[in-house]
Symmetry: C2
Subunit: 157 residues, 2 copies
């Protein structure tokens, strides 16, 4: 795995995301890394991240898939253009569409692995597919349409 | 609007959801109500619920759409079977699939309105469509496939 998480390579201005921003002290601070051609993130939900008691909240699952796929889109776009060079900074992508299929209840109290692959890179758009697993069993599948942030969309703060 | 939120009519055992459970003190405690044939919820994100600074985190938008559509599925199922009687308790649904299209950045610092309609009720499955608006402008559209909880799926705690 790379030494730095994808999300830690976003410019400081774009590091306040609740799901994955290193500068959001109240956030989840999710981190994604390359593992060969897959991108992987591991996150252990807290006790209050429950849906039905004992199982993980579906909105958190959607959030983990979203942030991980956005990071994967960014890293995959960089890698497609710079196959031989690790990124020092990554472009920021935003979510155009998010789809999650919940296959089975996701148990609380264990680390979750989100694993993703960039399926298509076309200009500023990247499509990423992901699975979310607990104890080696796939609990949810996701798909994100990620779009590289328009240059005229600045952070509002 | 009804006097009680849909989520406050779930049995106590199923009221720990991070997004909408009244018994989850760390959660968002989202509340949904009938407004004619629409179901409506209003939620104002906190300052740390940011994606790009100044805009709402996409994972929170997915969470709000998820919980509101699940509540709407439950209330719509009850209403379809009891057109003349307000619910005293509602059945708990879970999410089979969630889709969100993000149409434009959602501004932080204002109340968001989520408005949903049950599109199809077929046995234990209900399909719900939703919009999420800020200052009267639709920022995201969602669709949820909700399934009434199987009787053998108990909370694990």
């Amino acid at each position: 795995m790379n030494r730095k998480a994808f999300q830690d390579l976003y410019p400081d201005e774009f590091c306040h995301c609740y799901g994955c921003g290193r500068l959001n002290e109240h956030g989840l601070q999710m981190k994604s890394y390359w593992d060969g051609d897959d991108a992987v993130a591991v996150f252990e939900p807290r006790a209050h991240h429950t849906g039905i008691s004992g199982y993980v909240y579906g909105g958190l699952i959607a959030s983990l898939i979203d942030c991980h796929c956005i990071g994967t889109a960014s890293a995959a776009k960089h890698r497609s253009e710079n196959p031989d060079r690790d990124a020092e900074m990554l472009p920021r992508f935003v979510t155009a569409a998010l789809h999650v299929d919940y296959l089975r209840p996701t148990p609380l109290g264990v680390p979750l692995e989100v694993r993703a692959q960039a399926e298509e890179i076309k200009g500023r758009k990247v499509i990423v597919a992901a699975t979310l697993s607990a104890k080696g069993e796939i609990c949810a599948r996701g798909r994100v349409v990620a779009v590289q942030m328009p240059r005229n969309m600045k952070s509002a703060e």
